[in-house]
């Protein structure tokens, strides 16, 4: 097996910039350095043309009009602007917001801040597969509901929510619908009109574009979604997000979006095949291993597997040649069990040993074979050492043991 070490398999955290993307970006750092807001000279016009082209490219990826694409620094900013911006704009209409416990922190924390400001937030809980259903949203909507924010696909387990159905519910009730589509866009077909989405967040660096650039899709018609800005200044981006545009980054996001749009179907089929190979390879050999999330309603490239009775850090230690994530990359430094797996009802020790395999455009089948082999070996080595597995084999119910906590 010819694989180069280390292997990168953490593409839900970030992706490598596609060389074709980088090539298109480079001139905008040097000879084409103009400010897209400069209206008086060719440098500005050139930059503005490039930005407009990128708007078309991103718009095409999600079925939006280019005018509805608003540039940001990434999904965290897009989520903050969508949630706080809509909440503040529509505060007179009501103060009720609906979200879920499965969201990324960049949605959870803005919602918590709004709750401190006096907004009423309903936290929907997913089922055991990690799915949030339209029915739950329909039951939670009230007369004073102004915003529903539910992610399209989960970043840790890859499960896909009932976004189109939620969009339909929101349209019927006249409530603004935001979706954090960071993990979904560029990987799976998206159409904001078919899905009834009013606000959508996406990041370039999750789809083989550069870091530091993202978009917020803001619907202009039926209904026109309005936002109170967070960044104020020169009135860029229809007044909703001031600040000189990151032209090279935007060109990169546009190029990345176009490549994803062209290659999505082939790429999804290839990555789903590799993910299947990974899951089957591991679960066939490690009988305790469990796939988290929904078996089929999931992103093609994201796989999350729990290794019960094996501790996560020790598992990653055996896999040091492979860049993987234990729980959410953003919270794993704290060694806390993943809140997303907890939301699924996984017990703490299960959550302690979950690994996310994030495949991407540049992973090969040989790499998958290598990883499967390493994971099987490591899990078996650690199971052999695990006192918990021994107890389970003896018929002990671990949840009933009184542990001598230290």
């Amino acid at each position: 097996m010819a694989v180069e070490i280390p292997i990168y398999m953490d593409n839900n955290a970030t992706t490598r910039v596609d060389p074709r993307v980088l090539e298109q970006m480079l001139p905008y750092f040097s000879e084409k350095f103009g400010n897209a807001a400069s209206r008086n000279h060719s440098f500005g016009w050139e930059a503005e043309d490039a930005v407009d082209n990128a708007r078309r490219q991103v718009g095409a990826l999600i079925g939006a009009d280019p005018k509805e694409i608003l540039w940001t620094s990434g999904s965290t900013e897009s989520n903050n602007l969508a949630i706080k911006g809509a909440a503040h704009m529509y505060a007179e209409k009501g103060k009720h917001i609906i979200t879920s416990t499965m969201e990324h922190k960049a949605v959870i924390d803005p919602c918590k801040r709004l709750a401190k400001e006096g907004y009423d937030v309903t936290w929907l809980e997913p089922d055991g597969y990690g799915i949030v259903y339209a029915q739950q949203v329909a039951e939670a909507i009230r007369d004073d509901t102004i915003l529903v924010t539910i992610m399209w696909a989960n970043n840790e387990i890859g499960t896909i929510n009932e976004v189109s159905e939620i969009g339909t519910v929101c349209k019927e009730k006249g409530v603004i619908f935001h979706t954090d589509a960071t993990q979904y866009v560029g990987k799976m077909p998206a159409d904001v009109n078919k899905a009834g989405i009013d606000l959508l967040s996406a990041s370039a660096h999750k789809m083989y574009g550069p870091k530091g650039v993202g978009v917020l899709y803001v619907r202009r018609r039926r209904p026109r979604a309005r936002l109170e800005p967070i960044m104020e200044g020169g009135g860029h981006e229809r007044g909703m997000r001031s600040g000189t545009l990151n032209v090279p980054g935007i060109v990169g996001m546009g190029a990345a979006a176009e490549i994803c749009n062209n290659e999505m179907s082939d790429e999804a089929i290839r990555l789903a095949g590799l993910s299947h190979k990974l899951v089957k390879g591991i679960t066939d050999q490690v009988e305790t291993a469990v796939l988290n999330g929904h078996p089929t309603r999931r992103l093609p490239h994201t796989t999350n597997i729990s290794f019960p009775y094996v501790e996560g850090e020790s598992l990653l230690m055996a896999l040091k040649d492979i860049a993987l994530s234990s729980g959410s990359a953003c919270t794993s430094a704290s060694l806390e069990p993943s809140y997303i797996l907890k939301a699924l009802g996984a017990s703490d020790e299960l959550a302690h040993s979950s690994i996310r395999f994030g495949l991407g455009r540049f992973n090969t089948e040989d790499e998958v074979d290598y990883v499967v082999d390493k994971v099987i070996h490591a899990a078996q080595h650690l199971l052999m050492m695990s006192p918990l597995y021994d107890m389970v084999l003896e018929g002990v119910d671990l949840s009933k043991v009184e542990w001598a906590a230290h």
Binding site: E313, H352, M385, P387, W403
Partner: protein, 139 residues
């Protein structure tokens, strides 16, 4: 997290992994930690009652590499020592031997707890035996 060479060596080649008969009168078993804390250690000693020397040790650990290395090292150190000598092993010695960083000191504390728990279990069994064999001998 960068692990020291010694931690990696113990993790890759753990000493004395396994299980002793926990019901045997000369075997002491200590189980410490909790799954929700991320560490559970089971440490067992088999003592020669005549000499008081620990003849065999076994461990099983659910935990990070440092926890595995701490318990592996503890079993290595205890073997061949008397119960009293083994009882004197301190977590600071484990920290030093394995070059554990501050965030991993709790692994050494847990290993010391496991040593003490295994010895306590052995001593408890010995005390119970002192009372009983007289009756057994009379039969």
């Amino acid at each position: 997290m960068a692990y020291s060479e010694k931690v990696i060596e113990h993790y890759e080649n753990p000493r004395n992994v396994g299980t002793l008969d926990k019901d045997a009168p000369n075997v002491g078993t200590g189980i410490v930690g909790a799954p929700e804390c991320g560490d559970v250690m089971k440490l067992q000693i088999k003592v020669n009652p005549q000499t008081g020397v620990i003849e065999d040790t076994k461990f099983k650990t659910f935990g990070c590499g440092s926890a595995i290395a701490s318990s592996s090292l503890a079993t290595e150190w205890m073997k061949g020592r008397t119960v009293e000598e083994a009882e004197a092993i301190q977590n600071t010695q484990i920290v030093q031997e394995l070059s554990l960083p501050p965030v991993k000191i709790h692994c050494s504390v847990l290993a010391e707890d496991a040593i003490k728990a295994a010895i306590a279990d052995y001593k408890k069994k010995q005390d119970q035996q002192v009372d009983q064999p007289v009756a057994a001998a009379a039969n």
